[in-house]
């Protein structure tokens, strides 16, 4: 039964007015500007861009302000905005080997061409609250040394030369796009990577952690983790050649995984891959672990029933906008549905009580 009802308009308007007031907070405290969020809450901005699947730091910062710091709500705003944009083109695949690296570390090789570059990392901080930040002020400028920007080769390239690690053969296949066609299972690796890179960081992190604890173990080492700027090149149809139209900050993680060999593959190291918008290190590492766990079938490994190996489980639950939409819809009016439930329970109770009385 469908019952149309009206009402609540005034209540909704007033609720939104109050929301705006609460968002602003105490007016005696200076208002946050979008530029301040973009510059000083950069990792939150990065997360909103990665999960919103749209690289635009100003819009992500605006979304964070509008959402009062609720990052999933901010991702929702970005996702809604991106649906209004015409799609001009797809870029050429970015060349992460040519990345201008801010950070580049390897857990597998101490001495490697290009070196271990720590970059602006939280690692090696003591995680003690820094009360100096309570006071406003400029930090001392970070030291620099004269350096020539030059490309830093990928670690997996060295291993590949000896045939010790599986190859990632070049291809120009057009990848499927889950923003254009509904995701279909089984998904190929390209579709899985798209779903994971825009998936919820917490969900991907927990899945990756579960593989480390034994639910679909993949014995991963971080072969390389790099963060930096990469040029985005697009074929300009009116010109017939490609132009670099901008730069995006990316985090890339390549895992090197122990592999004894299987029915179909010789013993060699295998690989998991993570690539995420912005400085998003935790997400990139987690992505590469989950990517590797999902590859059990093509590598001829056993399915152990682990959640991280289960493509349907991972891909259908990774999107926090789908998840929050379905989860939160149950708070919206279900008066008629519930009325029906109520009727049913009353009837069943009456029948049960009547039977009880008859028995006595």
């Amino acid at each position: 039964m469908y019952v149309a009802v009206k009402g609540g308009e005034r209540a909704i308007d007033n609720a939104h007015a109050w929301l705006a007031e609460e968002r602003r907070g105490d007016p005696s405290v200076p208002e946050l500007s979008v530029a301040q969020i973009r510059e000083q809450m950069a990792l939150a901005v990065n997360r909103v861009m990665a999960e919103g699947s749209l690289y635009d730091p100003d819009l992500a910062a605006l979304a964070i302000k509008q959402a009062r710091g609720d990052l999933i709500e901010a991702v929702f705003l970005i996702r809604a905005y991106r649906t209004t944009l015409p799609r001009f083109a797809a870029s050429s695949a970015v060349e992460t080997a040519a990345m201008a690296v801010d950070r580049r570390i390897s857990a597998t090789f101490k001495d490697l061409p290009g070196g271990q570059v720590l970059g602006p990392t939280f690692d090696y901080t003591h995680r003690l609250l820094d009360f100096a930040l309570l006071a406003e002020g400029l930090p001392a400028p970070a030291p620099g040394t004269p350096a020539k920007p030059q490309p830093v080769p990928h670690v997996t390239g060295f291993l590949n030369r000896d045939g010790l690690i599986e190859d990632a053969p070049h291809s120009e296949a057009v990848p499927p796009d889950l923003t254009r066609e509904p995701m279909e299972l089984p998904a190929d690796r390209a579709l899985r990577l798209q779903a994971i890179t825009r998936g919820d960081e917490g969900f991907i992190l927990s899945l990756a952690y579960s593989t480390q604890r034994g639910y679909g173990r993949t014995h991963a080492f971080v072969g390389e983790l790099r963060i930096g700027q990469v040029a985005v090149e697009v074929d300009i149809p009116e010109l017939g050649f490609a132009v670099e139209i901008g730069e995006v900050e990316l985090t890339e993680c390549e895992t090197v995984n122990q592999f004894k060999g299987s029915r179909t593959e010789p013993p060699q190291f295998t690989r998991g891959y993570g690539l995420v918008f912005g400085q998003s290190e935790r997400k990139a590492i987690a992505m590469s672990l989950v990517d590797r766990a999902l590859r059990w079938k093509e590598l001829g490994e056993d399915f152990t029933g682990a959640p991280a190996q289960d493509e349907e489980f991972v891909l259908m639950h990774a999107d926090n906008i789908q998840a929050t939409g379905f989860l939160e819809h149950i708070k919206l009016p279900h008066y008629v549905d519930f009325q029906a439930e109520l009727e049913l329970v009353r009837k069943l109770r009456a029948e049960a009580l009547a039977l009880q009385e008859a028995a006595e």
Binding site: S53, L54, Y55, D56, L85, R87, F88, A90, S91, A93, V94, T96, A97, V101, D102, K110, G115, V117, L118, G119, P143, G144, T145, P146, A147, K148, P149, H154, T156, A168, P169, H170, S171, V174, P175, D177, T179, R189, A190, L193, Q194, T197, R198, V232, V234, I236, E238, L239, F241, A242, V243, E244, I245, E247, V248, L250, E252, E254, Y273, L275
Partner: protein, 147 residues
């Protein structure tokens, strides 16, 4: 257009696209008369990555882009595709692209493109220098077999 000319044009279009919009506006405050062939339009480009950095492409996510095309009074046509949603930036970049195909190119190169290129190079070098200062120098303290 020959490949060499195309390479030049690729270079300046990329430089203009990556330039900070405010800096480009400061270097090129006044625009000559032009007709809009395509008014500045905001859209998205799907950025692709490669599996394992070298393998098959996959869709990483979109980025905002503004494009614009103009024609100058003397007939030169300029195009711009620039990252972000700044319509004035796209328009200015398209006009400079058109002007670079006219006899004014030498002057523009000196007054607009060269400073932008130098500033971009400097910013990149400063960042690379900060990264280089965080490069680890390992030194061996005691080797196990010596102990």
């Amino acid at each position: 257009m020959t490949d060499a000319l195309n390479d030049d044009r690729k270079g300046w279009m990329s430089l203009l696209a990556k330039a900070p919009p405010a800096r480009l506006a400061a270097l090129m405050p006044d625009l000559p008369d032009h007709a809009l062939l395509r008014a500045p339009e905001v859209g998205a480009v799907m950025v692709r990555g490669r599996t394992g950095a070298t393998g098959a492409p996959f869709n990483l996510g979109e980025m905002t882009v503004t494009r614009c095309s103009v024609r100058l009074a003397e007939g030169a046509v300029g195009h711009a595709w620039v990252q972000g949603r700044d319509k004035a930036h796209a328009l200015r970049a398209a006009v400079v692209d058109a002007l670079m195909q006219t006899p004014e190119s030498a002057g523009l190169h000196a007054c607009v493109l060269a400073p932008l290129a130098a500033e971009a190079e400097l910013a990149r070098a400063v960042r690379a220098g900060k990264a280089a200062a965080t490069k680890v120098d390992f030194f061996t303290m005691v080797r196990g077999e010596d102990a």
